[in-house]
């Protein structure tokens, strides 16, 4: 599904060059539920942006569904994003002047689905996520959890093979966060690859595999079973 080979990425601001990703190698299989952890500045958001083709990388190779994603022009990148990837952001990134249904239907607009069909489909997804009564409300009339569910509905509507979530629970309380993780698990069980960037341990603990980033390289990859074992060993020692 995803194969990264020696990915490098640096940002230049004025005369300063900040080397953020320093050779990342990673493979994520289809249908996995994976989290990326790391302290701030470790490069986790940058990695997510590269994975989501929201940003390009300087060096290395990135294969998505077997296709090399490299130096894509904006038009092509937009096409890939539209077909393969659903995004969920920490700050929700809903369009404030569009109501819930219109926000959810937006990706279908760029898939050239007719208005009637995309609104119908959007209502279906809102219903699934328990937001049907809120379909005609603007985002600022919804609670944080509702907004994030709305964003998830929007990410799902284009039927992507992968969902990238950037700190999806960062703006939510712990109970809502857990509900959100259950939702992600459910989505994952439908066969969609889910990649969550987070710095919260208990969120990461709900995923199958934890990728720890530190200073732009992968420090460790822990699969969940091993982690439990590792934790046990720690407590026994």
């Amino acid at each position: 599904m995803i194969r990264l080979k020696n990915i490098h990425k640096s940002y230049t601001t004025g005369s300063n060059t900040l080397h953020v990703l320093k050779g990342v190698d990673l493979e994520i299989g289809k249908g996995e539920l994976v989290s990326i952890m790391g302290s701030s500045g470790s490069g986790k958001s940058t990695l997510l942006n590269v994975l989501g083709i929201l940003d390009n990388y300087d060096q290395g190779e990135y294969f998505l569904n077997g296709e090399l994603i490299q130096n894509m022009n904006e038009k092509k990148a937009a096409h890939y994003r539209n077909r393969h990837i659903g995004f969920v952001f920490q700050s929700f990134n809903l369009i404030s002047f569009k109501n819930a249904m219109e926000n959810v239907a937006l990706p279908l607009y760029y898939k050239k689905v007719s208005r009637k069909k995309r609104n119908e489909k959007a209502m279906g997804y809102l219903d699934k996520l328990g937001l049907k009564e809120w379909a005609h409300h603007l985002p600022n009339e919804l609670s944080g959890g509702q907004k994030q569910r709305l964003a998830i509905a929007r990410a799902l509507i284009s039927e992507p093979s992968m969902i990238l979530a950037d700190e999806p629970t960062g703006a939510l309380d712990s109970q809502t966060s857990m509900e959100m993780m259950d939702l992600f698990k459910e989505i994952n069980s439908m066969g969609i690859t889910v990649l969550i960037v987070t710095h919260e341990r208990d969120i990461a603990a709900k995923t199958q595999r934890i990728i720890r980033l530190k200073d732009g390289i992968i420090e460790s990859i822990v699969t969940n079973g091993e982690r439990k074992k590792w934790l046990r060993e720690q407590s026994m020692a």
Partner: protein
């Protein structure tokens, strides 16, 4: 472009951002409205001043008879110089003479009549060119022509006050009026911006006048226009005419009282300069207003795009191509500016029409109106300026990687 879905998307964006739409639209509408009002007022001023000075603003030379004041070649001073047809023929040959007419006048003690209506009006006996020299405006029929002149036809062109006095609403063309008992056929009615006096007279061919009033070969005044001749050239012409007359009528060319030549060209030039300056003033105001409008629209478009940067980022992460982003913003901006520009145009022209209809003609201001092509052109310029002003930042915003656009929280 004519994708219905796109228009629906634009419509919903406009509909949900009423304040932004209103502000953009208002600045465009206001710019156009002010432009129309200013251009219209400027035109009104030009009209008013032109009307005020029209009578004086003619590039004419008038040659009048006088009395000699210097003895010359054995002739005593105090001799009256009388012009004849020969003088007309000679002066006509002077270079730069455009229209020329000899004439003599018979003042108001002549009764004109039609049926039972009587009136005392001036009679002007002239060449056909006189219509051009005096800038008469034909209302009905025609002015005198060369054939009337050659055949000494008993025809007349009458001023519109004469028409009103004698015909009382009847169509005068082809009817006969009696001039000192002689019937003349009316061939035309004319108007003259110079005022009432200039339209309470009738014109008959000079040849007919000389015959009927027994003034064979007599001409009182010779009037001509000089086309585009400069002030200097008109002064030269004055001297040429004076010399020519001096030779034929035997008077000292230096004798300023033998003939009076009134040169209106200098005056004419002054007024032409005045009119040109007024026009320039109007253009300066107009261009200034357009520039102010362009700056305003550009400003708003840039702010609009800036405000939408995040929305652009969201749309891009949802799979919008840069092209679709640019066309969305551009079409919205063009739609708003065109609609608002048209509204401003209609309101401005409407107000001018109302003012023009209801405002009594005052001195120096009359009939404000605006050249519709200029107004449409100005609107188009504003729309294009708005589109360009929107295009540059829209292209920039659309080219930005979505991650950058989404970052500013």
């Amino acid at each position: 472009m004519f994708d219905l879905d796109k228009w629906q998307e634009i419509y919903s964006t406009i509909n949900k951002n009423k304040l932004r739409t209103f502000l953009t639209g208002f600045s465009v509408a206001w710019g156009i409205f002010m432009l129309i009002i200013l251009l219209g007022s400027g035109y009104g001023l030009e009209n008013g001043v032109q009307k005020e000075f029209k009578g004086d603003a003619e590039n004419t030379l008038w040659v009048n008879q006088g009395t000699t004041s210097i003895s010359y070649k054995g002739y005593k001073p105090g001799r009256f110089i009388e012009f004849g047809n020969k003088d007309y023929e000679q002066i006509k040959k002077v270079e730069d003479v455009e229209f020329i007419s000899g004439n003599f006048r018979i003042w108001q003690n002549n009764t004109l009549s039609y049926k039972n209506e009587y009136g005392a009006f001036d009679i002007f006996c002239t060449h056909p060119d006189y219509g051009e020299v005096e800038k008469l405006i034909p209302v009905k029929g025609r002015f005198l022509n060369q054939v009337d002149m050659i055949e000494c036809r008993k025809v007349t062109a009458i001023g519109n006050l004469v028409e009103k006095a004698l015909f009382k609403g009847e169509d005068p063309i082809g009817k006969y009026i009696h001039v000192t008992g002689i019937p003349f056929k009316v061939i035309g009615v004319f108007e003259d911006p110079g005022g009432d006096r200039d339209v309470s007279r009738i014109y008959i061919p000079l040849s007919t006048g000389q015959m009927v009033f027994n003034r064979l070969n007599e001409i009182g005044t010779i009037a001509m226009t000089v086309g585009n001749a400069s002030v200097d050239r008109s002064n030269e012409m004055t001297e040429e005419i004076r010399k020519d007359l001096a030779q034929r009528h035997h008077f000292d060319p230096a004798d300023q009282r033998a003939v009076f030549i009134w040169n209106n060209v200098e005056n004419y030039m002054k007024f032409m300069t005045l009119f040109a300056n007024i026009r320039l003033f109007i253009w300066v105001i107009g261009i200034g207003t357009i520039i102010a409008g362009i700056v305003g629209v550009s400003n708003i478009m840039m702010i609009v795009v800036k405000e939408r940067t995040k929305e652009i980022g969201i749309r891009k992460s949802m799979g919008a191509t840069p092209g679709s982003i640019i066309s969305l913003i551009m079409l919205e901006s063009i739609l708003i500016t065109s609609f608002a520009g048209y509204l401003g145009l209609v309101l401005g022209v409407g107000l001018l029409e109302i003012v023009s209809k209801n405002l009594p003609d005052t001195d120096y201001f009359s009939k404000p109106e605006v050249n519709i092509n200029v107004a449409l052109g100005a609107t188009l310029i504003l729309i294009i300026a708005g589109a360009i002003a929107g295009f540059v930042p829209a292209r920039k915003a659309a080219a930005v990687r979505p991650v950058v656009a989404l970052r500013d929280e």
